[in-house]
Amino acid sequence: MSAVPALPRPARQWRDGELAVLLLLPIALINAIGFILPVLNLARYSFNKSRIGGGMEAVFTWENWAGLLSDPFYLELVFNSVWISLAITLTTLVVSYPIALYLHRASGSWRTFLTVLVISPLLTSAVVRTYGWIAILTDDGPVVSAIKAVGLPAPSLMFNIKGVFIGLTEILMPYMILALMAGFGRLDPRVEEAARTLGATPARTFTKVILPLTLPGIALGCLLCFVLAVSSFITPKLMGGGRVFLLATEIYDQAIVTLNWPLASTLSILVLIVFGAALWAYSAVLRRLD
């Protein structure tokens, strides 16, 4: 085809297309083999029949789905995961908002320095940060010792949902702060100033001016953190000590320990459905804001 002499313009466009295909081939191959094929395969696996001990039959059955939706253990698992993730998301929002607002108002090298402080945990391995939390919350750790020193009964913060909650909230904070800051662009200091000079109290300025203007950032941050919380695995696994059951830890256990790949696939697709629901809620909120 390229050997046929053609009009200059089409020939030039054809070469562009050829070049594009050639240069995009490696990334397209990796995307197709390492992403699209595995995900489609995963969806297919959720309809396979599993055999006890790890084998399976390539048939088409709704067994996994029906079993999942009728088993109280899994219904509770899904309900717990969603509920805990929502609670963690809201807590993350509450503890991130002041930092984001402060960073938004800071300027110069102070702001750069603080932004680096916010981003650095993000670049530190989740294993390292979870380990740090284990060290802080363990029975001989600083928090429990401090509570004992005051004379209060020592709480158990490890190997239960409390520890997972505290650790995961901190681990998600940088994402929330960055999302909030991205959304704070709409917050013009002059608007706030106007509200204050017109006699609004700080509290009223916050609820009537600052909060409404930052709602898009809040929505984005919440979507991001919810999605990350639902799929978080390292922190619940290490801090839960085998006693905290969430969707992500169950997927891993089914895949690696029980070797029930069809059920693990079904749970994975369920996570994606929860993601879809979160995304739908997010766009519904955005539509109402506009």
Binding site: N31, I36, I99, Y102, I134, V227, S231, F233
Partner: protein, 264 residues
Amino acid sequence: MEIHKTSWPMRIIVFLLFVYLLAPVLLVFPLSFSGDQVLRFPPSFWSTRWYSALFANSQMLKAFWTSLSLAAVVTVLSIVIAVPAAWVMTRLRFAGRDLLFNIFTAPLLLPTIVLGLAILIVFASFGLLATMQGLVFAHLVVTLPYALRVLAVSLSTQDRACEEAARTLGAKPLTVFFRVTVPMLAPGIVAAAALCFLVSFDEVVITLFLTGPRISTLPVELYNYVYNQADPLVAAASALLILLTLGVIMIVERAMGLGKAFVK
């Protein structure tokens, strides 16, 4: 701006929240010098025994070299593959370009636990489990979207006057690309490379599905270690990892400014 003078209560709240945010990362430094046999803070006495223990742990050392070589190979491949792809995405016009870009960056939207399982199932039939090739391939799936995004942003904000000048002066397209576009893209390449390196070096969830006794990476070994016991050994490893991360961040900061690279 006077009205924005942050009040003292607010400053104290922000300070405490920063303490909360940084506590786990900061705590591992003093903890790594603990002399205790168990995880206790503050330690009853100080020593460097856990650093000695770490460097005497052949399994950890082997995993560290695996992680380092894996991250290096993945970084180089990511740049080599993503630079031309980002160039096509920003310089050529064709139907379905935005769709393709979204497909190429889509792996970032998928939770790693799902992607890890999906890749495990496919790799099991290809015989790629617990192999270096398998790990490189799986890491590329997650690093390429980052590289593509950072490089595409750099390329689209690049001033094209130089490229056009070179072209009008008779330079061939390849010459323009290697003598003008790539040198001007250097800061973006450094940022993308640093990001790919960190993502690959720290990746644990997907890797956990694909490693075995034959081959393992440092984060996976640390994960297994913490899962089985809690002593200050991992604090020593964590402290060194954080210093390594800081080093990489400093390179990015020098090259293009951290804000530009990550707050996009």
